[in-house]
C-alpha cells in the first residue's frame, strides 16, 4: 500500500472515530441554539408560510421587568468578576512565589471549592451567612451585633459565584504565572526594580493571556448560571438564569424564553469570541 493511500485510510478512520461526538454537539448544541435564535425571528403564519417579526424583542426591550433583570445580571457579572480577580490574583502570586507549609495549606483551601458540588455550596452558604446563621452567631459572640445578611440580596449570588469560580480562576492564573522564570525576576531585582515595578513590568505582561481567558470564562460562567442566583439571590429583579427558567417552566412561554436566551447569547458572544480567539492564537506546543 502506498503512503498516500495509507494516510488517506487513516484520515477516514480518524473522522469515523470522532463522528459521533461531533454529531452529538452539532445536533444537541449548535442546532438548538441556532433554532431558538431563528425561532425568535421567524414565526409560522396561520394559513401556512412564515413571517419575520421582531415582536418578542420589542417586548423584551420595552418591558421594565426584563430590562431590570438584564441590568441586574450585568451588574452581578461585572462585580463578581472584579472581586474574583482582585481576590484570586494575590493568592495566585503568593502561591507562585512562596514555598513552604503555609503555601501548601493556602493552595489546598483555595482549590477546595472545586470539590464541592454547587447545590452543597448553596446550602452551606445559606446556613453560614443567612439570617441567624453561624457567621452571625460567631460575630455576636465577639460583640458585633449589626450583621446584615447578604442572603437574598444582590450580594448573595456574588458571594456564591465567587466561591464557585475561584478554583478554576486560580488554576489558570497559576498556570500563566508558571511561565515567568525566577531568573528574570531576580535579574530585575538585581538592577534595582521594586516589587510594584516587577509586578507591572514583568508579571502583568506575561499573564495578560491568562487574565483574558479567566475573564472570558468567568463572564460566561456567571452570566449563564441559574442555580446560585436562584438559591441565594433576590427575586425582583432577578438574574437572567432564574428569569429564563421561570419564563420557560412557570410562565410556559418558550418564545419569550428563547428571546431571553438569544439576548444572553448575544451579550456573551463578546466574551465567547474573546475566549475562542485567545485559545486559537495559543502557540502550537502549548496545545497539548
Amino acid at each position: 500500500m502506498s503512503a498516500t493511500a495509507m494516510s488517506l485510510r487513516n484520515g477516514w478512520r480518524g473522522l469515523a472515530f470522532i463522528a459521533i461526538p461531533v454529531m452529538a454537539i452539532t445536533i444537541f448544541l449548535f442546532y438548538p441554539a441556532a433554532l431558538s435564535i431563528i425561532g425568535t425571528l421567524v414565526h409560522p403564519k396561520d394559513g401556512g408560510g412564515y413571517t419575520f417579526s421582531l415582536q418578542s424583542y420589542v417586548f423584551f426591550f420595552t418591558d421594565g421587568y426584563s430590562l431590570a433583570n438584564l441590568a441586574r445580571t450585568l451588574w452581578t457579572t461585572v462585580v463578581t468578576l472584579i472581586l474574583l480577580i482582585a481576590v484570586t490574583l494575590p493568592i495566585a502570586l503568593y502561591m507562585r512565589f512562596t514555598k513552604g507549609p503555609l503555601a501548601t495549606v493556602i493552595q489546598a483551601l483555595a482549590l477546595f471549592p472545586m470539590f464541592v458540588p454547587g447545590i452543597i455550596i448553596c446550602y452551606a452558604l445559606i446556613r453560614y451567612m443567612g439570617p441567624n446563621g453561624w457567621l452571625q452567631s460567631l460575630l455576636s459572640l465577639v460583640g458585633f451585633h449589626h450583621y446584615a445578611s447578604p442572603h437574598l440580596t444582590p450580594w448573595g449570588p456574588v458571594i456564591g459565584l465567587m466561591w464557585d469560580g475561584m478554583p478554576l480562576t486560580l488554576l489558570i492564573l497559576i498556570s500563566g504565572l508558571s511561565n515567568i522564570s525566577n531568573a528574570s525576576i531576580e535579574a530585575a531585582r538585581d538592577v534595582g526594580a521594586g516589587r510594584l515595578r516587577i509586578l507591572v513590568s514583568i508579571i502583568t505582561p506575561e499573564i495578560t493571556h491568562s487574565l483574558l481567558i479567566v475573564s472570558a470564562l468567568n463572564f460566561l460562567g456567571i452570566f449563564g448560571q441559574a442555580l446560585m442566583p436562584f438559591m441565594l439571590g433576590p427575586t425582583n429583579p432577578e438574574m437572567m438564569g432564574p428569569f429564563m427558567l421561570r419564563t420557560f417552566s412557570s410562565v410556559r412561554d418558550p418564545l419569550q424564553a428563547s428571546t431571553q436566551a438569544t439576548i444572553t447569547f448575544l451579550i456573551c458572544s463578546l466574551a465567547g469570541v474573546a475566549y475562542v480567539r485567545s485559545i486559537a492564537r495559543r502557540p502550537q506546543e502549548d496545545r497539548k
Binding site: A24, I25, L35, F97, F115, M129, L168, L171, L220, S249
Partner: protein, 272 residues
C-alpha cells in the same frame, strides 16, 4: 520567596489564610455541624443538642431512596455512553491525522464559549417539540453533552503521553495494531482514563441545572431533592445530612482522580 515576602513574619500569607478560613472553611464546617445537630437555636455558637436522630429520619424517607436510585441510574448511563462515544475520538485526536482535526478540536472547546444556561434553555425548547421534556432520555442527552469536553480532552492528553517509541518498538517485534493498543497504549493511559470516568460520574451525579429544566418534575434526581429540601426549610438537618452522606464518598473519589490528573491539565485544557 523571592518576590513577595522578605519580611520575617509572613503577614500577607496569614492574611490570605484568615480570608480563606472565613470564606471557605467555616461555610463547609457549618454543614457538618448541622448534620450532627439535633437542636441548634440562634445565637448558640454550637448545636445545643448533638446526635444522629436526623440520619435515621433521612434514611427512612422513600423519596430520598428513589431520588438516589434515579441519580445513580442517570450517572451510570451517562458515563457509559460518554466513554463509548468519546474514547475513540480521544484516541483519534491524539494519534491519528485527519483533515480538519484542529477545527473539530476547536468545536469542542467552543462549547465552552456559550453561556451554559441559555444553551440549556434552547435545548429544552427543542426538546419540548420532540416530547423529551420530563423524560429519562432527555436528561441523559443534556447531561451527556455536559461530559463530552472532559471525556475527550483528558483521555486525549493521556493517549498523547504514551511514548511513541514504545508503540513502535512493539510494532517492530511483530505486534498487530490492536495488540499495540491493548498491551502498550491502553495500560499506560488507563489511570487517567479511569480518573476521567470517575469525575464524569461524580459531576453527572451533581448536575443540577439541566436535570432541573429538562427532567422536572417527573425525573427527580438527588440534587433536585436537596434543592427542594433546602427551599422548604422545614427541617434544616435534612439538607445537611444528605450533603454529608453523599458528598464525603464523592470527595474521596474526586481527590483520588485529581491525584492522577493534576491541576495544570485543567488549566491547560481550558486554554490557560
Amino acid at each position: 520567596m523571592i518576590f513577595l515576602s522578605t519580611r520575617r513574619f509572613d503577614f500577607f500569607g496569614y492574611g490570605i489564610l484568615l480570608f480563606l478560613i472565613f470564606f471557605i472553611v467555616l461555610p463547609v464546617l457549618t454543614v457538618f455541624l448541622w448534620a450532627f445537630a439535633e437542636q441548634w437555636f440562634y445565637p448558640a455558637v454550637l448545636p445545643t443538642k448533638w446526635g444522629f436522630r436526623f440520619w435515621s429520619l433521612v434514611l427512612a424517607r422513600p423519596d430520598v431512596w428513589s431520588a438516589f436510585v434515579t441519580s445513580i441510574e442517570l450517572s451510570l448511563t451517562v458515563t457509559a455512553l460518554s466513554a463509548v462515544i468519546c474514547l475513540p475520538a480521544a484516541y483519534a485526536f491524539a494519534r491519528m491525522d485527519f483533515p480538519g482535526k484542529s477545527v473539530f478540536m476547536m468545536s469542542f472547546l467552543m462549547a465552552n464559549a456559550f453561556p451554559r444556561f441559555a444553551l440549556i434553555i434552547s435545548i429544552a425548547v427543542l426538546f419540548l417539540s420532540l416530547d423529551l421534556v420530563g423524560t429519562f432520555t432527555g436528561v441523559v442527552i443534556i447531561q451527556l453533552l455536559n461530559t463530552l469536553l472532559l471525556m475527550i480532552w483528558l483521555p486525549t492528553a493521556a493517549f498523547r503521553a504514551v511514548s511513541r517509541e514504545m508503540e513502535e518498538a512493539a510494532r517492530d517485534v511483530g505486534a498487530s495494531a490492536w495488540q499495540v493498543f491493548r498491551y502498550v497504549t491502553l495500560p499506560q493511559a488507563f489511570p487517567t482514563i479511569a480518573a476521567a470516568l470517575l469525575m464524569t460520574f461524580v459531576w453527572t451525579f451533581y448536575e443540577t441545572e439541566g436535570a432541573w429544566l429538562v427532567g422536572a418534575p417527573r425525573i427527580r434526581t438527588m440534587p433536585l431533592l436537596m434543592m427542594q429540601m433546602i427551599n422548604n426549610q422545614l427541617v434544616v438537618q435534612y439538607g445537611a445530612v444528605l450533603s454529608v452522606m453523599l458528598w464525603v464518598p464523592s470527595l474521596a473519589a474526586i481527590l483520588m482522580a485529581r491525584r492522577i490528573i493534576g491541576g495544570d491539565t485543567f488549566a491547560k485544557g481550558l486554554g490557560g
